[in-house]
Symmetry: C2
Subunit: 166 residues, 2 copies
């Protein structure tokens, strides 16, 4: 337990620990927050894992349901939402003697989500690891892949150099 003066110091240390990632005002960002907007689209485990499967090259409805481990009803609902949100697109295909079906492939917007998938996987590998965890590696050198924060001017950015504006 901290007394008021200690708590204020702790609170200021906490801000330091959390870097400069502080908004210039405290209005609720709501729909204007791009993290919130992203989570409105991929803010469920099933949606994110369908995106993982699409990045792995899965295209068929049955494969999405089986590999994510969800019911057909949930798979149908999530795939429709991800198509509507522009992360996947449907393409018709037909196997000989079968009716025409739809497959699902990543759009450019879907491809742009891959760094977020890699970042979540890097966190999971570090903090919630179990033996046999799959690892994303760099083809050729074989080293583990993570993400680093980088600005448009090409600088590597540490957490304590982050500033939220707007």
């Amino acid at each position: 337990m901290y007394l008021p003066s200690q708590r204020r110091m702790l609170s200021s240390m906490t801000v330091q620990l959390s870097g400069r990632l502080a908004r210039s005002d405290r209005r609720s960002p709501g729909d204007f927050c791009p993290i919130d907007r992203a989570m409105q689209v991929v803010g469920t485990r099933s949606a994110m894992l369908i995106m993982r499967e699409a990045a792995y090259g899965t295209t068929r409805f049955d494969d999405f349901a089986t590999r994510v481990g969800i019911t057909d009803a949930i798979a149908a609902s999530r795939l429709r939402e991800l198509v509507d949100a522009g992360l996947l697109e449907r393409r018709p295909y037909r196997e000989e003697g079968q009716r025409t079906r739809q497959e699902y492939v990543l759009t450019d917007s879907g491809h742009d989500l891959i760094p977020a998938l890699v970042a979540l996987g890097a966190w999971g590998r570090k903090h919630a690891v179990r033996r046999g965890t799959p690892t994303v590696t760099h083809e050729g050198c074989g080293a583990t892949v993570d993400v680093v924060m980088h600005c448009a001017e090409g600088h590597t950015v540490d957490e304590d150099q982050l500033l939220v504006t707007g």
Copy 2:
């Protein structure tokens, strides 16, 4: 619609589009997938937005509920889950004349989630943008911050150089 031979070609193109992010086998990763493990912890909009607020420096229960826009019951449940999962820790504090209360601060594990928050925000800003969207910038140079994929050997990694092993 594609005939079988065309569809196979399309399928192979799809794998190309999705880069080399293909598992060496097709077993269902389940609990072994680090993305899945991460989404078991922060796989709800409210959990991820509480982590965003903690990164912004929010520590008080009431502020989490108000700034994320969730009920006290949901805030209490999410905060408890995030503490149990090791992303936040409780610290007692007391204001003069008040009873002792708990505040919530990021642990090291919680700090390690920030690149994933930045990656989701970068996706949201690019693909689900609205006017007035807050932007994460690099203090000093002011340029927008995104994430880049990077391997442990220090190479920048493109999507088509990703390989999933294990």
